[in-house]
C-alpha cells in the first residue's frame, strides 16, 4: 500500500499555508521517487496545530503539526518517522480529540469533504434511506424525541418548528438553511460546509421529506468562498448520484437545493431578514407574527434552520433519537460544538455534550491565553453575547444556566481576551457594530446604537461620568425593551456586562485610556 498523506483543504489550514505544504509534499516526494497518495481532507479542528498533516501507511493515521513549508523536506527525509520533532502520534489518541464527544462532527477532518464514497463509507445517507421509509409525521416525531433545539442561538425546539410547517397548508414549502454565520468567534457552520457538506445536504433533504418541502436554499455568507465552492461541488455530485432531484433514490420524492450568496450584512443572519434577502430585497427585519413557519419565503410555509441543526438530523435518523437525547442535561439535549477563539493557546472546535463547565473549555481544552497573560474576559455567543469574568467560569454550559446569569450560549462561540483588553473599548465596539449592521427598521436599534457610541465616548473622556453612566443604562434598557429583533435587543448585553463586571475600565481619567 502506498503512503497516504492527508493535508487539510479548509480555510484555517489554508490561511496558515496548507496549500504550499501540499504542493511541496507532492514535489519533494516525486523528487525522492516516493509513491504517495495525497488526500485533501477537512480539518480535524485543532487549529493551533494547523497545517496538521497526517500519514497512513496502513497501520492507522499519525499526525504531524504545525507543518510549515520549510518542514516538508525533513518530514520526507525522516519518512514521517515518530522521532520527527513535529510528530504528534496517532491522531485518534490526541487527548484534545479523545476528550470530546464528536457526534455531528464525527467525520470532521477524517474524510475528503467532497467525496461521495468517503461519505457513504462513514455512514452517510443511512439516515436518508431510513427517512424514506417513514411518514412525514414519524420523521417529525423522531426529531422531537431527540430534544434537538435550534443551534443558531435562539434554541427553539426544532421538532416543533417542523410540526408547524408540516401542519401548515401551502402549495409550495421551503427549507432554508441559515448559513450566514456572522458571529465573531464562530466557525462550526463553516467547518460543516467545508469539511462535511453532504451531511448538511442530507439533513436538508430529510427536513424536506418531513414537512413536504421540495425546494431548499442554503443562504451562505459571501465571506466563505471555500464553503461555497465545496457546497456547489457536493450539490452537483449529490444530484448526479440521485440524492437530489425529482426522484430521490427512486422513491418518487423530490427535493432541489441551491446555494444563495449573501452580500456582507450581519443582520441577514436574523431569520426574517434572511428571507427578505433571499427574496431579493434589502435585508430588513420583518415583524413577527406571522412566523416564517406559516408565512415565510415568498409568503409560504418555511423551515428556517441553522446549519448545525440540520447537520444533526442525519445522525438522529441513523442512530435513533434516543442516542442523541442521551447526551446533555435537562432541556439541553445532545451536543454543542464549542468554538474556542480569540486569544487562546489551543483554539479550535470542541464538540461536547451540554453540562460541562466554561472553565474546562478554556483551561483544559484551550490551555489559557495565547499570549500567556491571564485571561480577563470571555465573550460567549457572538457579538450580541455578554462578556463573562473569570469568576463566572464555573457556569455549566447549557442554555438555561447561561440565561440564569444574563448570558447566552448562542451558537457556542467562545472568544477569549487577556488582561490587555480595555472593556470600555469593547463596549464601544458593540455599539459601533450595531451602528454598522442595523437594518434601520426600528428606532431603538438604528438611533440608539449611534447615541450609545457617543455616550460611551463621553464616559471614556471622563465627561459627567455619573450622569452619562445613568444615561447609558437607560439607553440599554430602551434598546432591550423596544427593538424589533435581537440585533438591537441584545447589543446592550455585552455593553451592560462590560460596565457591570469591569467598572474600573469605565472609571479612568479622560485621555488615559
Amino acid at each position: 500500500m502506498s503512503l497516504r498523506v492527508f493535508v487539510p483543504c479548509e480555510t484555517t489550514a489554508l490561511s496558515l499555508g496548507a496549500e504550499d505544504v501540499a504542493t511541496l509534499i507532492s514535489r519533494e516526494a516525486a523528487a525522492r521517487g516516493l509513491k504517495i497518495e495525497l488526500v485533501r481532507n477537512g480539518s480535524r479542528g485543532l487549529f493551533w496545530l494547523e497545517p496538521l498533516v497526517e500519514v497512513d501507511d496502513g497501520t492507522g493515521r499519525r499526525a504531524f503539526g504545525p507543518v510549515e513549508p520549510g518542514d516538508v523536506a525533513s518530514l520526507l527525509d525522516s519518512h514521517f518517522g515518530d522521532d520527527h520533532p513535529l510528530a504528534l502520534g496517532p491522531t485518534d489518541e490526541l487527548p484534545w480529540l479523545k476528550k470530546q464527544q464528536r457526534v455531528t462532527f464525527a467525520r470532521l477532518g477524517v474524510t475528503d469533504p467532497v467525496s461521495l464514497d468517503d461519505y457513504r463509507a462513514t455512514g452517510g445517507f443511512d439516515g436518508l434511506h431510513h427517512a424514506l421509509e417513514l411518514t412525514p409525521q414519524q420523521l417529525v416525531d423522531r426529531v422531537k424525541a431527540s430534544g434537538l433545539r435550534g443551534r443558531g442561538g435562539a434554541a427553539f425546539p426544532t421538532g416543533i418548528k417542523w410540526q408547524t410547517v408540516l401542519d401548515a397548508a401551502g402549495a409550495q414549502k421551503y427549507i432554508v438553511c441559515n448559513a450566514d454565520e456572522g458571529d465573531s468567534g464562530t466557525f462550526a457552520d463553516r467547518l460543516v460546509m467545508e469539511c462535511d457538506p453532504y451531511m448538511l445536504i442530507e439533513g436538508m433533504i430529510i427536513a424536506g421529506l418531513a414537512v413536504g418541502a421540495t425546494q431548499g436554499y442554503i443562504y451562505l455568507r459571501e465571506e466563505y468562498p471555500l464553503a461555497h465552492r465545496h457546497l456547489d461541488l457536493a450539490i452537483a455530485r449529490a444530484e448526479a448520484a440521485g440524492y437530489l432531484g425529482n426522484n430521490i433514490q427512486n422513491s418518487g420524492r423530490a427535493f432541489a437545493l441551491e446555494v444563495r450568496l449573501g452580500a456582507g450584512a450581519y443582520i441577514c443572519g436574523e431569520e426574517t431578514s434572511l428571507l427578505e434577502s433571499l427574496e431579493g430585497k434589502r435585508g430588513m427585519v420583518r415583524a413577527k407574527p406571522p412566523l416564517p413557519a406559516i408565512e415565510g419565503l415568498f409568503g409560504l410555509p418555511t423551515v428556517v434552520n441553522n446549519v448545525l441543526s440540520l447537520a444533526a438530523v442525519p445522525s438522529i435518523l441513523r442512530d435513533g433519537p434516543e442516542h442523541y437525547a442521551g447526551f446533555g442535561v435537562e432541556r439541553s439535549r445532545g451536543t454543542l460544538p464549542f468554538q474556542l477563539a480569540g486569544n487562546i493557546a489551543q483554539g479550535g472546535l470542541v464538540e461536547l455534550a451540554f453540562g460541562h463547565s466554561l472553565r474546562e473549555l478554556i483551561e483544559d481544552f484551550g490551555g489559557g491565553s495565547a499570549s500567556g497573560r491571564p485571561v480577563r474576559a470571555v465573550q460567549v455567543g457572538g457579538p450580541l453575547g455578554a462578556y463573562l469574568s473569570p469568576a463566572q467560569f464555573d457556569t455549566a454550559l447549557d442554555y438555561e444556566a447561561f440565561s440564569a446569569i444574563g448570558a447566552v450560549l448562542g451558537h457556542g462561540g467562545v472568544v477569549v481576551f487577556d488582561d490587555s483588553v480595555d472593556m470600555a473599548e469593547q463596549a464601544r465596539f458593540s455599539m459601533e457594530f450595531c451602528v454598522e449592521e442595523s437594518c434601520g427598521k426600528c428606532t431603538p436599534c438604528r438611533i440608539g446604537s449611534t447615541r450609545g457610541v457617543e455616550v460611551i465616548d463621553r464616559i471614556m473622556r471622563g465627561e459627567n461620568r455619573d450622569a452619562n453612566m445613568a444615561l447609558l443604562e437607560d439607553l440599554c434598557d430602551t434598546m432591550i425593551q423596544g427593538s424589533l429583533c435581537a440585533m438591537g435587543g441584545m447589543t446592550p448585553f455585552p455593553v451592560k456586562s462590560a460596565y457591570t463586571l469591569f467598572p474600573e475600565d469605565f472609571q479612568r481619567q479622560g485621555g488615559e485610556a
Binding site: 490561511s15 468567534g185 444563495r260 450584512a265 434589502r282 465573550q379 469593547q426
Partner: protein
Amino acid sequence: MRACRVVTTPGQERPGLTHCKWRWFDAPPAPFYKVDTVMDETQAGVLDTVETIVTSLKHKPGALLPILHGIQDHFGYIPDVAIGVIARHLRSTAADVHGVVSFYHYFRSEQPGRHVVELCRAEACQARGARALESHAKARLGVDYGQTTADRSITLKPVYCLGNCATGPSVRVGEQIKGRMDPARFDRLVDDLTTYKLELN
C-alpha cells in the same frame, strides 16, 4: 437609462449648454446614479454584458441578489448603468434596485483597486491585535477604509468575521484568507501584491 445622453462630467466645457437654464452651474446637477452619459463603445459593451447576465438569471425566484453577484463578479463592481437594466427586467424601479445595492456592504458602485484587502475588525481578531494591525495598515497604505491607494493597487475594506477566529488577526485578499497577520507580515503581503514578478530563465 439609455435616454440619459447629456454630458455631465463636471468642469467640462459645454458650449451648447451655455444658453440653457443650467448655465450658472459649473455643471448641471448630476443624476443620483451618476451616469457618465455619452454612450461610447465600451459603455454599449457594458450594457450588452449586463443584459446577458440579467437575462440568464432573472428566471430565478428572488433573482436580484444572484444578478448583482453576477454583475459584480464580472466587472468588479456594479456599474451605474446596470441599475436601469436590472429594474426593467425585474419590473422593479431604479430606486428599489439602488436601495438593495446600497444596503449590502459587499456590493460597490465604483471600480476597486486591483486587489481588495479586507481586514477583520471583529472581536476574536481584536483579542489578537487587530486594532494595532488596523492602524498599521491604514498608515502603510495611506488610505482609510473604503479608499483605494493612489496607484490603484489596493482597496482597503473592513470585514466583520471571516470565520478564522482561532488564528487571527485575519485578512482576506480575493478568495484567500490569511491568518496570524501582524504588521511585518502585512507589509510583506502588500509588497507581494504590488510587485510585478518577472520570471527570467
